[in-house]
Structures are given as structure tokens and as C-alpha cells.
């Protein structure tokens, strides 16, 4: 039992970071119906930025979130304006998939040229610190990453529920046409939301590099996980993304410890398939009505 509880702790802590990454993806999908498959590459880009700040300017990776996040918010806004906004017509959703995939490959290429393909890791002095709580080990950096992710998700949630911008976002999610008729500037909402989605990836990326070694190709694995989290949680649902990420983290950790790591990812996908058979819209997703 001790082993299982230890695995659950490991899974919950890492699930929190995945929740932060996935929150940006689900937010952007909810508002624009854009599946941003560059989200994983943006996480890795942020991991490199944080790594560079740590290596060259000795900026603590957790503090680097304060620099990396706004910088990548601006990048996200520019990407939306230049690449995504111009997509029109019935094919816009499918085209956005291709455009963001091209963006992911572009980011990977640039990172490979600048940083080469060798693995990097951001290793502050406390990287190896472990706390023992009631006989269970809790890695300090994972705990920090979890707490930071939870705090940012709370801020994002408050932003969406307690501000005028948040109301505009939710109105656009529910009915873009009605929102526009009521005076919501849909273009502005979409642009800022895309930037917000990218900045969530940035915050998660900055701490990702402290937990895992990474290289430019690490985004392929990330995006497959993030997409499955968003689908399990329900496309466009922030709460769903959080729950799904935690389910993924815990399922994988427990299966790896109690059974075999080979089946860790597979077991999560079994959970995903079962949920989708029962609730095709995902845990918290809303079933779209046919017109």
C-alpha cells in the first residue's frame, strides 16, 4: 500500500504541471475551435528560455516564470494575429491544425540550431531536495511545480469568472455570434486568449525543465499527452483539463509501479476510451447540439 500511495503522490504532483500545459490548449480550443498542436513545442521553447536565463543570468527557474510568461504572451498574440486570424471559411479549423503544426516544427528547428539536439536540464541547487512527509517522499521541485501550477490555474479561473474580459471570453465560447452582437470584440478576445493559452504553456515549460531533461524533439510526446488530456476532460473545459491531467498522472504512476511502465501510457488511454464510450463529450465537456 505504501508503494501505491507513494505513486499516487508522484502522479498528482506531475499531473498538476500537465494541467497547466493543457489549460492553454483547452482555452484556445474553447474560444476559437483551434487545436493548437504547437502547445507542446511552446512548452519546450519556454523550457529553453528558462534554461538560458538560469545558465547565463542565474535567474531562478521558478522566478523566470515572471519573465518567460509575459514574453511568450506577446509571442502568442503575434502568432494569432499573423498566422491564425487570417484563416477564414469553413476549413479554418482544419487549416489551423496545419498552421500550428508548422509552427511546432519551426520552433523545433530553431531550437535545434541554437541549442543543438543534446538534452538540457535546468538544475538549481535545490533540484535534488526531497521532503519526507509521514514517511512518504515528496520531491521539492515537483511540489513547487504543483503549487505554482495550482496558483496559476486559480488566477486563470478567476480571470475567466470574475473579470469583464473573462465574461467576454465565456460569452464567445458559448455563442460567438451573440457575443459579437452584444458588443464583444471577438477578434480582441481571440487574440488575447491565444496569448493567454501560450503564456500558460510558457509557465509550465519554465518548470518542466527543472523536472525533466528535454531536447527540441520532446514536444512530440508532450502534445500527444496534452491532446488526450483535453479530450478526456472535455474540449474547452478548464476544470476537465485539470481533472484529466491528474487522472493521467496518477494512472500512469500507479500502473508503472504496480505493473509495468510499458503499460503506463496504455492504461491511461484505456481510461480515456472508457470515458469517451460513456461520455463522448469528455468528463466535463458539453455535448454540442446538432442544428
Amino acid at each position: 500500500m505504501h508503494q501505491v500511495i507513494q505513486a499516487v503522490i508522484l502522479g498528482l504532483l506531475i499531473g498538476g504541471v500537465y494541467a497547466l500545459m493543457a489549460s492553454g490548449l483547452t482555452l484556445v480550443f474553447g474560444i476559437m475551435r483551434v487545436i493548437n498542436v504547437a502547445q507542446g513545442a511552446l512548452v519546450i521553447l519556454a523550457a529553453y528560455l528558462s534554461y538560458a536565463l538560469f545558465s547565463h543570468a542565474h535567474v531562478d527557474p521558478f522566478l523566470s516564470v515572471l519573465i518567460v510568461t509575459p514574453a511568450m504572451f506577446v509571442l502568442g498574440v503575434l502568432v494569432q494575429i499573423v498566422f491564425v486570424r487570417s484563416l477564414r471559411g469553413d476549413d479554418a479549423e482544419e487549416l489551423s491544425l496545419l498552421v500550428t503544426w508548422a509552427l511546432a516544427l519551426g520552433i523545433e528547428g530553431v531550437l535545434s540550431v541554437i541549442f543543438k539536439t543534446t538534452y538540457r536540464a535546468t538544475s538549481p541547487s535545490y533540484a535534488d531536495k526531497t521532503l519526507t512527509v509521514f514517511g512518504y517522499q515528496v520531491q521539492f521541485v515537483r511540489l513547487m511545480a504543483f503549487v505554482g501550477s495550482a496558483a496559476l490555474l486559480l488566477v486563470l479561473s478567476l480571470l475567466l469568472t470574475r473579470t469583464k474580459f473573462g465574461r467576454a471570453v465565456r460569452a464567445t465560447v458559448q455563442n460567438p455570434t451573440a457575443a459579437t452582437l452584444l458588443g464583444v470584440d471577438a477578434n480582441r478576445v481571440q487574440t488575447l486568449s491565444f496569448g493567454l493559452g501560450v503564456s500558460m504553456a510558457a509557465a509550465a515549460g519554465a518548470v518542466y525543465g527543472v523536472i525533466y531533461p528535454f531536447n527540441p524533439g520532446s514536444h512530440y510526446d508532450l502534445i500527444s499527452r496534452l491532446l488526450s488530456i483535453v479530450v478526456l476532460g472535455g474540449l474547452g473545459s478548464l476544470g476537465g483539463a485539470v481533472v484529466a491531467a491528474l487522472v493521467m498522472g496518477v494512472t500512469e504512476a500507479v500502473v508503472a509501479v504496480e505493473w509495468q511502465p510499458t503499460w503506463a501510457s496504455f492504461s491511461y488511454f484505456i481510461v480515456l476510451i472508457v470515458v469517451l464510450l460513456i461520455r463522448p463529450q469528455g468528463i466535463f465537456g458539453v455535448r454540442e447540439r446538432a442544428l
Partner: protein
């Protein structure tokens, strides 16, 4: 007799076969003349293997530069014809086909990695070319049983960790591990090496308490190490590549699990990267293997290291072994030329199959299918530096046993 389309096609096919056979028969012969010796090399200068491909390129170019500064080979300058294969096996095959049939090079050297070497060696074999190759040591290369292949490292990949077993066997019985855990990456160059070690150690009475293979997308080694640690093994023996090796060590450190022996097939053998990934204070006592190291007293190694640093900067510690492996390919051609006064491919193949050949990679000899018959070096991190510690004759430091706790010297 009427000429039906089927008959015409048969005649054309027969003609083509004759033409190909004639080309193949003559292509392997060295073209006489006073021009430069052209050597075709396909390298991964872009794509997944580009870092290692570029390191091999530095080794090849350095050898050509050094050879030319000494008058070339058999009085002819060496000219390398290098083409990027974008890390693609198909492109590598095309490149070698072009080197031989269009560029009409005198010799070819191998590309980077088993994935590209196996199909490329078959192309060279078809035309009777020797295939001296620095980086294709996996089973796929030797399964073809080609007589023209010569791998310029001391041991094939699958046997690369046998030296660790020999080292453990050399220890007093009280110091040897009694139990071992084998967490390995699902990769043809990782888990089979650990399996080989496990089979050998089991025969010597080392009990396997845990073994698992994790998929390449496993980023979190926490659960894997947690399970291994729960079995309290004396040794962790991991078939790893760099990324998962770093993650395994980090997980062990974070979980305060410090076994008496840690051996990882790849990762710790990268002196430039390993300390920065796992923390310089966590490297000591960790074993890996290597085919080359800068201080090795092998043939021409000191001159190679000196010339490399002069040409490319940095220090001896930053030299990628891929550069030395490529350099060794050139050394072999020089030695064959000195011995036989020929670089004819047939001569190169038959000559290299006899005897032992001195290179920066040590003294090399091969069986009939190009598998080297030597042993890799056992490397260990001691005092923050990576040293060869076994076999004794090549050791530069006494082994550190058992592994000190994390954060200790």
C-alpha cells in the same frame, strides 16, 4: 521467330543485368592515376543524428587534413566527397549509389548510426567496395553477414557492456553485488545490452530482483526507480540512452536511493553533458562504457587530440568519440596502403581481414562479418572526472567501489 514484347523485355532485362554486373565488377577496382584519392561519405549533417554526424565529419576532415599535410596516401592527396543524408537511410543509400556510380570515388567510409549503416553497407557490397564504418555497431549491420564491413570500434554494441561483468567478476567475492535490478529503455541499442549483462550475471549467481522495459516516451522515471528501489538491489544496471539515463539518476537522487553499483549503458559516458544534467556532485561512482577516451595510449591518439584541439578549439574533454571513430577509419586506409602499396577495394577488404590494426580506437581486428573482436573500456566517474578503470592495462584510475552516497566525493 517473332519478337514478342515479353521476349523483348526478357532480352532487355538480361542486358541490364549484364551491364550492372559489369559495373559492379569494375567499380570496386581503384582507378589508377595521379589525381586525388576520392572518398565518398554520407553524413547526417541535418536531422536527428546531426550532432553526431557533424562530430564524425570533424574526425574525417581532420584525418584528411593530417594525411594531406604528410603527402597524402600513396603520394596522392585525399579528397573527401561528403553529402548530407538528412539522417535518412534512404538518402544515405542514394548517396552511396551516387558516390560509386556517378562520382566514381576510390573508396567510401560509413555514415552515422546503425540505422543508416546497414542499408549503405549493402550498396557498397554490391559494387565490391570496402565499407569501413565508425558508427554502425548494432546487430542490423552484422546480420547481413557482409564481408566488406569493418566497424572501427573495439566491440559490437551488444557486447559493449560485457566488460562490466568481467570487472565485477574480478572483484573479491565480498564486494560483488548479490542482487541487481535492470530498468531499460525499449530501444534496440539499450535493453538488449542490459539483457546480455543480466544473462551473464545470472550465470555468476547475481539474482535479478527486478527488470522492466519502459517505452521511449517515458519522461518520468520516478515510478520506475521507486519500484526498483523497493526491491533493494545492490546494483542498478540500466540499458539507457542519454535522456532516460539522466532521468534515472535524477530519480535515484531525489528518492535518496543509492545502490552499491550504478551502471548505465549510455549517458554517463558523455563527459561534457552528464554532470550538468544530473548535478556534478551526483556523478561519482557511476559506471558506463566507452570505446575511446582522450588520454588513451592508443596508436596516434595523442597527435589526434592535439590536432583536433588545434583545428576545432575546446579541450580534449570536449571531443566527441564519434570524431575519433571516424579518424580511425582513415588510419586503417593509410595502414593498408603502407603495407600493400594499394588502396584497391579488394585489397583493402582482404588485407583488413588479416591481423590486428592499430588505430586511435585501440588495436582492432574483425571476424569475417566485420564484428570487432575486442572489448570496450569500463569508465567510472571518480572525483568529478570520467576515467577508464578496466581492463587494468588501460586503466587510468583505481575503481571506486562501492558507489559513494549521492553528493559525496
Amino acid at each position: 521467330m517473332s519478337r514478342t514484347p515479353a521476349r523483348l523485355a526478357a532480352v532487355a532485362a538480361a542486358g541490364t543485368l549484364v551491364a550492372v554486373a559489369a559495373t559492379a565488377a569494375t567499380a570496386g577496382a581503384t582507378r589508377a592515376g595521379a589525381g586525388p584519392i576520392k572518398i565518398g561519405i554520407s553524413l547526417s549533417l541535418s536531422g536527428d543524428f546531426s550532432d553526431s554526424g557533424k562530430a564524425a565529419q570533424r574526425g574525417y576532415k581532420l584525418w584528411a587534413k593530417v594525411a594531406n599535410s604528410h603527402g597524402g596516401v600513396l603520394g596522392r592527396k585525399v579528397q573527401l566527397v561528403i553529402q548530407d543524408d538528412t539522417s535518412s537511410p534512404t538518402q544515405a543509400q542514394t548517396n552511396y549509389q551516387n558516390f560509386i556510380t556517378k562520382d566514381k570515388v576510390d573508396l567510401v567510409f560509413g555514415p552515422f548510426s546503425t540505422l543508416l549503416t546497414a542499408p549503405s553497407a549493402a550498396v557498397a557490397n554490391r559494387y565490391g567496395y570496402a565499407f569501413i564504418e565508425p558508427a554502425g555497431g548494432g546487430p542490423a549491420v552484422f546480420q547481413e553477414k557482409l564481408h566488406n564491413v569493418f566497424f572501427t570500434q573495439p566491440a559490437p554494441v551488444l557486447q559493449s557492456a560485457d566488460v562490466f561483468v568481467k570487472f565485477l567478476s574480478s572483484l573479491p567475492k565480498s564486494q560483488r553485488p548479490k542482487t541487481a535490478a535492470y530498468p531499460s529503455l525499449d530501444d534496440p541499442f539499450s535493453s538488449p545490452i542490459a539483457d546480455q549483462v543480466r544473462a551473464l550475471l545470472q550465470k555468476k549467481g547475481v539474482k535479478t530482483v527486478y527488470k522492466t522495459i519502459y517505452p521511449s516516451e517515458t519522461t518520468d522515471m520516478g515510478p520506475v526507480i521507486q519500484k526498483a528501489a523497493s526491491k533493494h538491489p545492490d546494483a542498478i544496471i540500466g540499458g539507457t540512452q542519454n535522456g532516460d539515463a539522466y532521468a534515472q539518476v535524477k530519480a535515484m537522487v531525489q528518492q535518496k536511493f543509492s545502490p552499491k553499483f550504478v551502471f548505465l549503458t549510455n549517458g554517463p559516458n558523455d563527459p561534457a553533458e552528464f554532470p550538468s544534467k544530473v548535478g556534478a556532485k551526483n556523478v561519482n561512482g557511476i559506471f558506463s562504457t566507452g570505446d575511446w577516451f582522450p588520454q588513451e595510449k592508443s596508436f596516434g591518439n595523442a597527435a589526434f587530440v592535439k590536432a583536433y584541439v588545434k583545428a576545432y578549439g575546446g579541450s580534449s574533454a570536449t571531443i566527441d568519440p564519434s570524431s575519433a571513430e571516424a579518424f580511425a577509419a582513415g588510419q586503417l586506409v593509410q595502414e593498408v596502403a603502407a603495407k600493400t602499396k594499394s588502396i584497391d577495394n579488394k585489397t583493402v577488404i582482404s588485407t583488413l581481414h588479416k591481423g590486428t590494426w592499430k588505430t586511435v580506437e585501440g588495436n582492432l581486428r574483425w571476424n569475417s562479418i566485420g564484428e570487432p573482436q575486442g572489448s570496450d573500456l569500463l569508465m567510472e566517474w571518480i572525483g568529478g572526472k570520467l576515467y577508464p578503470v578496466y581492463p587494468k592495462a588501460l586503466a587510468l584510475h583505481k575503481p571506486l567501489v562501492p558507489k559513494p552516497g549521492w553528493g559525496s566525493k
